[in-house]
């Protein structure tokens, strides 16, 4: 399904490249850098080097400024269509990643029991020899499929390549089942394509924007926040559905303080209003819709009056907001969201969001969900990978027919159970699995079954503590990476290149992946010697100038149509070839063809539902040791409704601990007593409460929501782990 949508994307994006071919006077930057490295004294003066950001996965084009040989600042690259010359606070604070004093400095091999966090520093060669020997043993005993990779972000590209060359299909990421997987499945089931990353949301042209739990402004997906501000300034009607009065709620015309877990009820009622009042885009639905009559019959019972007791949203408000959406159609965008693994019915909720967009005719339309394009840059001609003898191990019983990506928690399960076959080695790249997977105890249990665990990271995060071998990576400002070929409004390519040198013996991921491949005897898969050779090959093959790319950081292709009315083919790669209001493939697999609402479990008396989200100055649990970002936000707080806090006698700033339904107690965390949240839930920013001692700057600052997520509700469609199903009580600090 994914491949199908990609094929279509390729079709529309194979475009002539209308690139300005300004002559590149200076040589590639890296060459200049190398020349500088050869010289003794740090060069004086200002140098500005374009690259792209890696503080999150958005990949904004940036320009770093080095003053007298020292990294000074990073700003947006004005040529970049994604960042439009402006980074988010994390990107601006990316300088701190280079100066982080908690960074890993040398390869480490475990000295004592796993998890004891005691190490011997070794050379890279020793580390690779150790890893390669164990990998060969595992391969001989269990087959190459017994090696799994958990990775996050573009930096994992070359490790994936090495491990696929080694022969494993088990490549996974928490960004699927724990994050956007349910959303992608829900949209794919409806439109035959997913919402993409960066999302194909035309926020800046929307005249009505509906955010369901999506907290733009706290969630700093740069392009979206910029466009959100544009939309607000242009007077767009903002409708925010959130149990918490988010920053976005503060900009909203309608704020709907929904009871957590009841979003599907609201979505069904909205669709009911649109259909019964005939406010939907009838021509669009008639032309593109499949199974609309059956859909209409299914949603008939879901009146706003029915939804009221479920959601707590008054029927008049449901009607008023539905009419507001209809008034602005098709430029009404119901945002697909991103992190969507909430309650276990998430793929169906996302499908309801997709269907609401379909009713409003926003897919393929200006101010809705556009058709993204990308530059067509050929892949490097590697030899074909060996075909794994066994398939991905994440779903042995084929329980999740609608997954689009392998299920990280499924690989974890296979590691514990040995089914369908044993997983004996984990590689972990760029993701702190202790914080990014739910139920830490299960992760630890799985690790006990491994013969080899290798973690590549920049800081000694929790997951490195459980490794056998830790490989210190240079941060993005010190390395090259794969090209950025985002699918976006316009085609472009971005390059990441080193700005400063790594302070110690840290190495770039491509070098790590390549050296490991050489040690494994997979040299045929790395015909290139340096990454510049690799990048230059690809860029040149596409008819672009590598020199120009290194100087500008970004090369843009000619604009392409992104809306139906601009000539984008009105195609939907679903089984019916249409927008599936009624899904036969869901029905055939025994699932609801039209989303249905299930009432969520209420928290027991005295307990609160634990919700989590983001702060604008941190990415996941990755940036807390960045000195600049730490300075912006050192610890998280637990948001407690002001009335509830008063009943408990808790003032803002008082420390409490949270105890979940399974008796797990959090680290101490400050109370934020606020009117900005419902009384039945509490909220925390994810990524804090680090327990790895070598993260000295952030050790035990705040509390970890992940640690309290010992229970999940698994999405029956795609195996996503709904995590907003944990209840906590407030334990006062003695």
């Amino acid at each position: 399904m994914d491949a199908l949508s990609r094929r279509r994307f390729l079709k529309i994006s194979t475009a002539t490249l209308g690139l300005a071919t300004a002559g590149g006077a200076a040589g590639p930057l890296a060459r200049r850098l190398a020349a500088r490295a050869a010289g003794s004294a740090a060069p004086q003066g200002i140098r500005r080097i374009p690259t792209y950001c890696s503080i999150c996965f958005w990949k904004c084009g940036a320009v770093a400024t080095v003053k007298d040989g020292r990294l000074w600042k990073i700003e947006g690259n004005p040529d970049d269509p994604l960042s439009r010359g402006r980074l988010c606070p994390r990107g601006t604070g990316g300088v701190g990643a280079h100066f982080d004093t908690d960074r890993l400095t040398a390869p480490l091999i475990r000295r004592t029991t796993r998890g004891q966090d005691e190490w011997t520093a070794v050379t890279w060669d020793e580390a690779f020899a150790y890893i390669a020997e164990r990998m060969q043993t595992i391969k001989a005993k269990y087959g190459p499929e017994s090696v799994a990779l958990f990775s996050h972000g573009i930096g994992g590209t070359f490790l994936k390549h090495t491990l696929q060359a080694f022969g494993t299909p088990n490549l996974t990421a928490p960004s699927g089942a724990q994050c956007r997987g349910p959303r992608d499945t829900g949209f794919n089931l409806t439109f035959g394509e997913d919402a993409g990353s960066p999302e194909r949301t035309d926020i800046r042209n929307a005249t009505c924007l509906v955010l369901i739990g999506s907290h733009l402004g706290e969630n700093m997906h740069n392009t979206q926040v910029q466009e959100f501000a544009d939309a607000v300034a242009a007077g767009a009607s903002i409708i925010v559905v959130d149990p918490r009065f988010s920053i976005a709620a503060g900009k909203a015309k309608y704020y709907l303080p929904i009871k957590p877990g009841t979003d599907i009820a609201l979505l069904l009622a909205w669709m009911h209003v649109l259909v019964t009042e005939e406010l939907y885009d009838t021509a669009y639905v008639e032309k593109h819709g499949f199974g609309f009559d059956a859909f209409k019959a299914e949603i008939a019972p879901y009146t706003p009056e029915w939804a009221y007791p479920e959601t707590g949203i008054e029927p008049e408000v449901i009607r008023a907001t539905a009419r507001e959406m209809a008034r602005n159609k098709p430029s009404t965008l119901v945002h697909p969201g991103r992190h969507s693994a909430w309650y276990g019915d998430d793929a169906q909720r996302s499908r309801a969001v997709a269907l609401l967009n379909a009713l409003l005719g926003s897919w393929g339309r200006r101010g809705g969900l556009y058709a993204p394009v990308a530059l067509d840059i050929p892949a490097y001609p590697y030899p074909p990978y060996p075909k794994p003898a066994r398939g991905v191990a994440d779903d042995p019983d084929d329980k999740y027919p609608f997954k689009l990506e392998s299920i990280s928690t499924g690989i974890r399960e296979a590691t514990i159970s040995g089914r369908p076959y044993p997983i004996k080695s984990w590689f972990v790249y760029g993701t702190n699995l202790m914080e990014s997977l739910p139920n830490q105890a299960e992760t630890i249990e799985a690790i006990q079954h491994l013969d080899l665990m290798v973690v590549v990271d920049v800081v000694p995060s929790e997951i490195t503590g459980w490794a056998d071998v830790v490989l210190p990576e240079s941060v993005y400002l010190e390395r090259h990476d794969e090209l950025n070929l985002n699918w976006f409004r316009e085609p472009y390519v971005g390059i990441r290149q080193p700005v400063v040198e790594a302070p110690a013996d840290q190495k770039p991921n491509w070098w790590i992946a390549r050296e490991l491949a050489l040690k494994l005897g997979l040299g045929a898969y790395y015909p290139w010697k340096t990454i510049e050779e690799y990048l230059a090959y690809r860029v040149t093959k596409a008819g672009l100038s590598f020199d120009e790319l290194t100087q500008k950081g970004i090369l843009r292709g000619a604009p392409q149509p992104i809306y139906f009315d601009q000539g984008v083919p009105e195609e939907f790669p679903t089984p019916s070839g249409k927008i599936e209001f009624y899904s036969l493939q869901l029905r055939d697999k025994g699932h609801d063809p039209v989303p249905k609402y299930t009432r969520p479990e209420d928290p027991p008396p005295g307990a609160f539902r634990l919700l989590f989200g983001r702060a604008p100055v941190h990415t996941f649990s990755r940036t807390q040791t960045n000195p600049i970002l730490d300075d912006m936000m050192h610890e998280n707080e637990v948001w407690v409704n002001a009335g509830v806090a008063a009943r408990y006698g808790l003032a803002s700033g008082t420390y409490v601990r949270l105890k979940n339904q399974d008796g797990v107690v959090s680290n101490r965390v400050k109370v934020k007593a606020t009117e900005r949240i419902r009384p039945d839930c509490v909220y925390m920013v994810h990524g804090f409460g680090h327990t790895a001692r070598r993260l000295t700057r952030t050790y035990l600052a705040g509390a970890s929501d992940s640690r309290l997520i010992t229970r999940v509700k698994v999405d029956p469609l795609m195996g996503g782990t709904g995590m907003n199903v944990n209840f906590v009580t407030l334990e006062l600090e003695a």
Partner: protein
């Protein structure tokens, strides 16, 4: 209901301003005390009573010189950029009370020194200095001039210690011109109590005790006017007054400053000067301590107060 969250977390600023610690109240107290002693010395000189068996003329200027040095040291300790302290004396900033103060302090030293010369102890009356001291003591015009200078500079010093705070208009608690008068009176009162404490001459002691009663009474009146002023101003000033009317500084203000520092000494001393009880050394100690606590309360509460 308003929730205001600031992401700022600057040392000495947040959550409530606390830029000045113990050094500034100590300095302001000593400044006021010295100002008071200078005025008393000046008064005695102008009255021509320097020949009497007076501690005021013989000891007080010397004590003033010593305390002034302690005060200057406290002020210096408070400076954050100490190596640049000389910058005070390469300029005069008309609008800055602190600049005025820096220069006044520079004049106070010679004024005190010259006042001390008038009754320089015999064992030091030798050579050039001795001849100068003798000449000053014999010249009514010199005595008049020295008395006048001490009276004037003492007054300026005492008032300046209050104006230093009251000129910082962004602190509603300090935002009253009465502060100069209040600190002057408090300085005079402490100085009178100090003389009362150390004077060996009974007449002098009686005189200063009586004077102190007047100073304390005026100070009480000024203090009440000051609070009235705050309470009859806008919300920010009322909130500032609340710091000592139910707020965190209430106890120390009413017990330490008003009760132990003013009212009780006034009562005890009134009984003593009317010879209904004996003079007691505890009274001047209470007055002086109250005067010090007054500076602490004002410096700390003032920093906590802010425009709403």
């Amino acid at each position: 209901m308003t929730e205001l969250v600031l992401t700022r977390h600057n040392a000495m600023i947040d959550p409530l301003l606390h830029a000045w610690g113990w050094e500034i109240p100590v300095y302001l107290f000593l400044g006021g005390l010295i100002g008071g002693t200078m005025m008393i010395t000046g008064y005695i000189l102008l009255k021509g009573r320097h020949r009497e068996n007076s501690c005021v003329c013989s000891v007080l200027p010397l004590v003033g010189l010593a305390l002034l040095s302690v005060g200057m040291l406290a002020l210096f300790l408070d400076l954050e950029h100490k190596l640049y302290v000389w910058r005070l004396y390469t300029t005069f900033q008309f609008s800055s009370p602190m600049s005025w103060g820096a220069w006044i302090l520079l004049l106070v030293y010679p004024a005190l020194a010259v006042a001390w010369l008038v009754r320089l102890p015999a064992f030091l009356r030798v050579g050039q200095v001795g001849r100068l001291a003798d000449a000053l003591a014999e010249s009514p015009r010199a005595i008049w001039a020295i008395g006048y200078v001490n009276l004037a500079l003492g007054g300026m010093l005492g008032i300046y210690t209050g104006v230093l705070l009251s000129s910082l208009g962004s602190r509603p608690f300090w935002n009253s011109a009465l502060l100069g008068v209040l600190f002057l009176l408090s300085g005079l009162s402490a100085a009178a109590a100090f003389v009362h404490m150390i004077a060996w001459d009974r007449t002098e002691r009686e005189l200063l005790a009586r004077a102190d009663n007047i100073f304390i009474s005026l100070e009480l009146v000024t203090l009440m006017l000051f609070l009235t002023g705050l309470l009859t101003s806008g919300a920010s000033h009322q909130a500032a007054a609340a710091l000592v009317l139910g707020g965190p500084f209430t106890a120390v203000f009413w017990v330490g400053v008003v009760g132990l520092g003013l009212v009780i000494p006034l009562v005890l001393q009134s009984l003593a000067v009317t010879h209904r009880t004996l003079h007691s050394a505890i009274v001047p100690v209470m007055v002086i301590a109250g005067s010090l606590v007054l500076r602490f309360v004002f410096v700390y509460a003032g920093q906590y107060s802010h425009w709403l």
